[in-house]
Subunit: 256 residues, 2 copies
DNA sequence: CCCGAAGTTTGCGAAATCGCAAAGTGCTGC
DNA sequence: GCAGCACTTTGCGATTTCGCAAACTTCGGG
């Protein structure tokens, strides 16, 4: 095994950039072949799909599309992470959803929409493929399983949303934050020596926007958890060292 | 204009029962022809669809299907109202959604599910049509527009859900309850002399389960609003007499 | 006609969470 | 190497909302 190069505190492993560069050079069929919406398609079909796609790179913090804009394109996240947010009249940001790489997003057509219902922002450097939205119905008609796979994806997001809604309606802040963090490390976590780390830069404010609380309260909770040895955190980094104990915090009736 | 017969306080108008009876007798093509999923289909197609359906009647409070059960059938609500709830480990009930008549529900297949993700309960006497779930893909394939219409319906429920999530994350209880009540009278309201009444029996507890609060708090809010002349309520009945003022209560920064 | 169940109201103290303020800390660019 | 900005921490009082308790009201059934 290669010796790990420790880069200046908290950067993505060097592998990332290389991967990105290679993606930008050529679009390999194998990029898509193992993803649910394209599983089972022939090499030629995938080639066809790739040839119609445009690649794009986004820096962390860059917006990919904005709420209300006409939905001209739909996207596949090849690498990185994307956050979907809604902004209220009062200016509050609420994070509706996180997209890990490999998933479609901005799929307004799958929901019968002509405009994007929310804003998408890259939370770490991200690479996307994008297709003109008019191809959506072609894809559904032409490619076996595409439609089913996207339905399933929509269904999953729907039930996730319900889960979070129920959580918001019934649990208190500590439980909500604990569960949000657990979801993050489950779906977008990276193993480290000290535990599982959220795989993109994340602030207290970000967490508060996912859970409907304030950055202050999140800070207090993380401090408390850090004292109990459940998490370790640095600026924009959160490592969960004892996930099982965090699970307890996420359940109603947990001890304090 | 006919003189309105005032029936014993708060019952459904007599027309309801008659309508129900006539539905039970024969299934008329006109029942479906104006509903989005079936719009534009021929008389014969609708006949075909109706012939495969089974009709069922539910009393208020009766469960139509339960969370987790294998999704054997999908439903169309012909008359009445249905509430979709999730029940937490802690036993809390959270209302995810209300279905007005004319809409499909229990459409797990549209979301790629094999089991119902939530429980459905009739909140007033309700009549449903139901089809075996295996027909879902037939319907999608055979009937022009069915698929699109259901996608749109799913999309609408998705954005509604997002809206409510954002609301839950950012607004305080009074605003949430005000908005919930406004949605109820907009979508399932009935005009009366005193204002707009929620068209099915609804308790403080029900409202609290829609908004993530307690029946006590809802009671206090309704009492206050009643004092200001915004609503009038009797046991299980809520009439909004001044909707515009309720809209103000639903906005952040409203005066008290 | 009365009784019991279900739904509603209200008071009051307790708890959770916020909001504001101020200070600390780490990172980046120059 | 330093300045400035972004992010974080923490204290404390204010506010919202809950939780519990008790009484009241309405309705339907026997």
């Amino acid at each position: 095994m290669a010796v790990k190069i420790r880069n200046s505190c908290g950067e993505q492993p060097t592998g990332h950039v290389d991967r990105v560069k290679s993606m930008m050079r050529k679009l390999d069929e194998s990029l898509l072949s193992h993803l649910a919406p394209f599983a089972g398609l022939t090499r030629d079909e995938i080639r066809e799909i790739l040839d119609q796609a445009s690649t794009q790179r986004f820096n962390a913090g860059e917006s990919i599309f904005d709420e209300g804009a006409v939905a001209e394109r739909f996207f596949l996240l090849l690498d990185g992470y994307v956050r979907v947010v809604r902004i209220t009249d009062g200016g509050d940001h609420v994070t509706v959803l996180h997209i890990p790489s490999g998933q479609l997003f901005g799929i307004a057509s799958a929901l019968g929409h002509t405009n994007y219902p929310a804003t998408s922002i890259a939370v770490s450097e991200s690479i996307t493929l994008a297709w003109p939205m008019r191809l959506w119905s072609d894809f559904e008609a032409r490619y076996e399983g595409f439609s089913t796979a996207t339905q399933r994806a929509v269904g999953k997001r729907m039930t996730d949303m319900h889960d979070r809604f129920v959580e918001m309606a019934t649990q208190q802040v500590e439980q909500r934050v604990a569960n949000a963090l657990l979801r993050l490390i489950n779906q977008m976590g990276r193993k480290t020596d000290q535990g599982i780390e959220v795989d993109f830069p994340i602030t207290r404010q970000d967490l508060s926007q996912m859970t409907g609380t304030t950055l202050h309260t999140v800070s207090r909770l993380l401090s408390a958890w850090e004292k109990s040895g459940i998490v370790e955190s640095r600026r924009k980094h959160i490592v969960v060292s004892r996930p099982q104990e965090l699970v307890l915090k996420g359940k109603p009736g947990a001890q304090h």
